[in-house]
Every structure is written in C-alpha cells, then in structure tokens.
C-alpha cells in the first residue's frame, strides 16, 4: 500500500505557478486554507481557479496576487462578507480575468471532467446573460491553452426538441481538498455536506487532501458506503488540524465569525489587505503560528463543534 503522506510545505511545493486549481469546500466551509496560505508564502503566481461557491479562501488567493483567472458562480462568505472584497476590487479595476457561470453549470462542468466527457448538458442558464455575455474575450480564450474554446453551446435535443445548454468540461492540474478524515493510503471521509468535492477531485489530474484527522485505512474500509473518492485518485495526504480555519468543518469546528469579519473589513482596502497578509500569512511561518495569531487555544476552543450538532450552538455570531 502506497504511503501518500506529505508535510504541508512539501505538498505546496508540488503545486506549480500557472497551474489550474479546483479548491474544495463551499463559502464558509471546509476549504483547505492552511494549504492556500502556504502557497501564498511560497509565492505561487498565475493560477487559474475554477470554483462554484467560493469564500474568503479564494478571495485571499486573489488578493495575494496568485490568481490569473477565475471561472466561478459566487464569491462571498454569507452575511459575514456579502461580496468577497478582492473579487470585487480586482474585477472593478480590471486586474482579474473572470467568467461567470451558475452553480449548477459549474457543477456540470466539473462533473463532465470527472466523467471523462468533453461537455455536460444542463437546462440552466437559458434566458440569462451568462449565455449572452462573456467575461473572457475570444482573444484571451485563444491565447490561453487552459480556456475552453467557448463558454457554452445551445443545442436542440435530437430526441425531444427541447433546448439544452452544453457547458465545457473542466479538468484541473490540481484539486485541493480539506476533509474530516483521511488515511495515509489516500482514502477520504467527508462528513456532512459533500459540496462538490468528489466531482472536483475526480476532474483533476492530481488530488491533494488536507485532513483534520489521520486515520487507519482499515477504519475507513469499515463503512465503504461512505467513501466516495477512490484512493487511486488521491496523490497526497497532509495532516493539518484546524486546516480550514477561518472556515468551518462539520463535526470539528465552526466558522470563525470574528476572523471572517476581520478579514472582510481588512480586505476592503489595499492597505488593510497588506496588513492582513503580513499578520496572518507572511508573518506566520506555519500552521501552529497561524493558529496562535488568530487567538490560539482559547479562540479555537470556542469554535469547537458540540457533539450531536456538528457545529457550536453557543457560538455568538452577531459581531459588534
């Protein structure tokens, strides 16, 4: 049995500038943020990121100047950050290439990649400007070998005469996930909502998984119905407790409302963003220092999920 265990720094070293990425999670949940901070520290550039509903994990990567293009459906952290601040600023200032799809369309695109299909059909996006207006110009699509030849194609179904939208497959160089449990051999256990992690992983050439807990392969084989990604599709496993902070991990800890608001407020200005990066990314050398910087044991304890809930029902979320 292959041992796929890696240290966080070594995992980040595998991920080259210019790579295309899929990042697991959903808005404020289960993003591999520790790994993303390490990528920022290692000064990666020019990523193309495909996402459905991303949160501040991708916003931070954009703010740190690591991203060339985003194709996505949504960037926000719920009410804590109704518009992801760098996403907004970088697009308004023309510094970021972007393409808009709906969540169902991005889901369809990743699913096509996972299934080895060149496209996927959807009934969504009909009648919307997402089919009428492109974020990417035809020239930039031609220039960019990563980009699909066009955004979507409208077809008449040969069986029913209904209109169907075809969206192009996504296959990324890397998929980065954060999950509850993983084994050194690459078995992965997701608890709670799956989001789109399974399809993102299978649409990727290499999958790197950070996890809250490292467990035996045997333990995960005891309930094979709950394993949804074949271990032969997983290439690296990194043990990173609190690896999704400031986002939440079902059954482990809640999102951190204080930090998410601090992030959102900081990132609304360039200066604020620079100070945030200095304090929480460049100024900390590893995950342990980061956890100290965000409040250490006391703060983390306050986020811990309560048994039977999966989150902390006592968490104060209305931040003054």
């Amino acid at each position: 049995m292959q041992n796929k265990l890696l240290e966080l720094t070594a995992a980040a070293q595998q991920i080259n500038s210019g790579a295309s990425l899929a990042i697991g999670g959903f808005t404020s949940q289960r993003h591999p943020t520790a790994l993303l901070r390490e990528l920022i520290r290692q000064k990666r550039k020019d990523f193309v990121v495909y996402a459905h509903s991303a949160g501040s994990e991708l916003d931070l990567l954009i703010g740190a100047g690591c991203v060339r293009r985003v194709e996505a459906a949504y960037l926000a952290d719920g009410v804590l950050a109704p518009i992801a601040p760098n996403w907004r600023r970088f697009i308004e200032s023309g510094e970021l290439e972007f393409e808009d799809y709906s969540n169902a369309a991005m889901m369809a695109r990743f699913t096509a990649g996972a299934m080895g299909l060149p496209f996927f059909p959807t009934l969504s996006m009909l009648g919307t400007d997402m089919l009428e207006q492109d974020g990417l110009s035809p020239e930039s699509r031609e220039r960019d070998p990563e980009a699909a030849v066009c955004k979507a194609v409208l077809m008449d179904c040969p069986f029913s005469k209904r209109k169907v939208v075809l969206v192009p497959a996504i296959t990324t160089d890397f998929c980065l996930l954060h999950v509850q449990k993983a084994s050194p051999a690459g078995l992965v256990r997701i608890e709670g909502q799956e989001f789109l992690d399974v399809q993102m992983a299978l649409a990727s050439r290499r999958v790197i998984v950070t996890c809250e807990e490292l467990v035996d392969d045997e333990e995960l084989r005891r309930e094979p119905e709950r394993n949804r990604i074949p271990s032969f599709a997983v290439h690296g496993v990194v043990h990173v407790p609190f690896g999704a902070h400031p986002h939440g991990v079902h059954n482990y800890y809640d999102y951190d409302p204080d930090h998410l608001i601090l992030y959102n407020n900081s990132a609304e200005t360039e200066d604020g963003l620079v100070r945030y990066l200095d304090r929480f990314v460049y100024g900390v050398e590893d995950q342990a220092s980061y956890l100290n910087a965000v409040g250490g044991r006391v703060q983390l304890e306050a986020l811990k999920a309560h048994s039977g809930f999966g989150y902390n029902p006592k968490l104060r979320r209305r931040v003054a």
């Binding site: 949504y74 907004r88 919307t128 909502q193 789109l196």
Partner: protein, 257 residues
C-alpha cells in the same frame, strides 16, 4: 392582548413565509429566504421540506444558518448530499415546488441581477458575488418567490445583467427560451407583494404592507406597476413575530442586520 409592532424586514419575511404551502419542497437561498422557510415550517407548513444547494436536504434546523453551506442546515437532515444531487436530481429533476431568492436588482418581469452593476459587464461599477444557485433556482423550480428591499435603484425597468431568469420580457418569452420551470410567482418587498398577470406576465401590486401605500410603492419602483387591485397585507400575527424573533433569529443576525 397587545399587538406587537414589526419592522419592514419582519413583515417581508412573514409575507414570504406565507407563500409556502404545507408539504412543499422549498429551495432556500442565503439570507432572508432561510428565515422565511424556517418560519413557515414553524407556522402553517410543518411538513415542508427545505433543500439547500450545498447539500442539506429536509433538515429540522434549530439554529439559523448564516449561509446555505452552514453546518446548521444539516441538523436533523434526511440527507447530507452535495451540489451534484441537489442541482441534478432534486432541482433539475423537477422536485422543487418553490424557490426562495434574493437579488441586488429586480426588473419589471422579475429578472434578477446578482452579478454586476453598470452598463459594462466586463468593467462593472460594482461587482457582485455572482449567481451562485440563483440562476438555477429561477430556471428550474416550479415557481419562485423573490425577497428584496424596495428601493428605486434596485427596481429598474431592466436589470444591468440578467443573472436569473424571471418572465424575461413578458408574455411567453420565458417558455420560448426553453426554460423548464415556472417563473416568479411573487416578489415580496419591504413595501408590499408584487405578482404577475397570467398571460402578459405584467407586474401588479397584490398587496402593500401596513404603513406603506400604493403611492410609496410607485415612487420606489423604476417600472410602471398597476396598483389598482392592491389590498393591505394582513399584519404579522404575534405568533409569527414571536417565533421569528425568539426561535428563528434570536441573535438578530438578519432581523437586526
């Protein structure tokens, strides 16, 4: 018995909740839609099943989620799935009775914009978060209910970018575009409830909230709206307000947003 006073947010949520019938499958977007669905479940629609695009299906939530991906959406859930199952099997599979949505702009025919403000999509004045599941819910639910603050700048004749299809340009334009779901049934705002005529899909004011008038609505609406049949919205009951404040959002996350 003392009648409780309500805020404009509260009556909006209450009026939205009343659009849900018992036993329906409700797809709820982030924000006030969640409050509306949770309130309905505790009032007249105890058997409605709520579905969230991030993966929670038919939960019995105890605590208000801050977004549709929140772990709180999973409490007591019948299924913990993901985007794949919810969008493909439940939404596009035709199993959602009513989709609950918000939007930054909403136009005459109930089309929504949550992508970008300004005339140039590629160089917007304000870049918004994007569709998320909004376009999908708008296209694929049997009907939708839209919740929005009633301000003139949010209610233009035509949205700057059509993220989510309403009745498109009215008439049978939605059907002609091949969109399978049923379109907006109601827009619940801080001032009243807008509905649409059956054939023309022209908007009309169905009701105005206590304290508001048809004139207020006309003044805050950027398109022509027929207010001739509008009646006053029946005020939130004490029960509705108590449950909303004490059970659904005791922290005041959205109600004191």
């Amino acid at each position: 018995m003392k009648i409780l006073q309500h805020s404009t947010t509260e009556i909006m949520v209450v009026a939205a909740a009343r659009e849900i019938a018992d036993g329906e499958v409700v797809f709820a977007g982030t924000g006030l839609p969640i409050l509306g669905a949770m309130l309905a479940q505790r009032m007249h629609a105890p058997n409605c099943d709520i579905v969230f695009e991030a993966g929670a299906v038919a939960p019995r939530m105890l605590h208000l989620p801050m977004s549709v991906g929140d772990s709180r959406t999973l409490f007591g859930a019948a299924q913990a799935a993901g985007l794949f199952d919810v969008f493909n099997y439940i939404l596009q599979g035709g199993r959602v009775d009513v989709g609950f949505l918000g939007g930054a702009q909403i136009d005459r025919y109930g089309n929504l914009n949550s992508t970008a403000l300004g005339p140039d999509y590629r160089h917007p004045k304000v870049r918004l978060p994007g569709s998320g599941g909004s376009a999908d819910v708008s296209a694929l639910s049997s009907r939708t209910v839209i919740i929005a603050r009633h301000e003139k700048r949010r209610f233009p004749e035509r949205v700057d970018y059509r993220t989510s299809p309403g009745w498109l340009v009215g008439g049978n334009s939605r059907e002609r575009a091949g969109i399978p779901g049923g379109g907006p049934a109601a827009v619940v705002t801080t001032l009243g409830v807008i509905k649409y005529r059956p054939i023309t899909r022209e908007p009309y004011l169905a009701s105005y909230h206590p304290g508001a008038t048809p004139l207020n609505v006309k003044a805050e609406t950027g398109f022509e709206i027929d207010c001739s049949e509008a009646v006053e919205t029946s005020a939130p009951s004490n029960d509705e307000l108590e449950i909303l404040r004490r059970v659904v959002d005791p922290e005041g996350i959205f109600l004191r947003g």
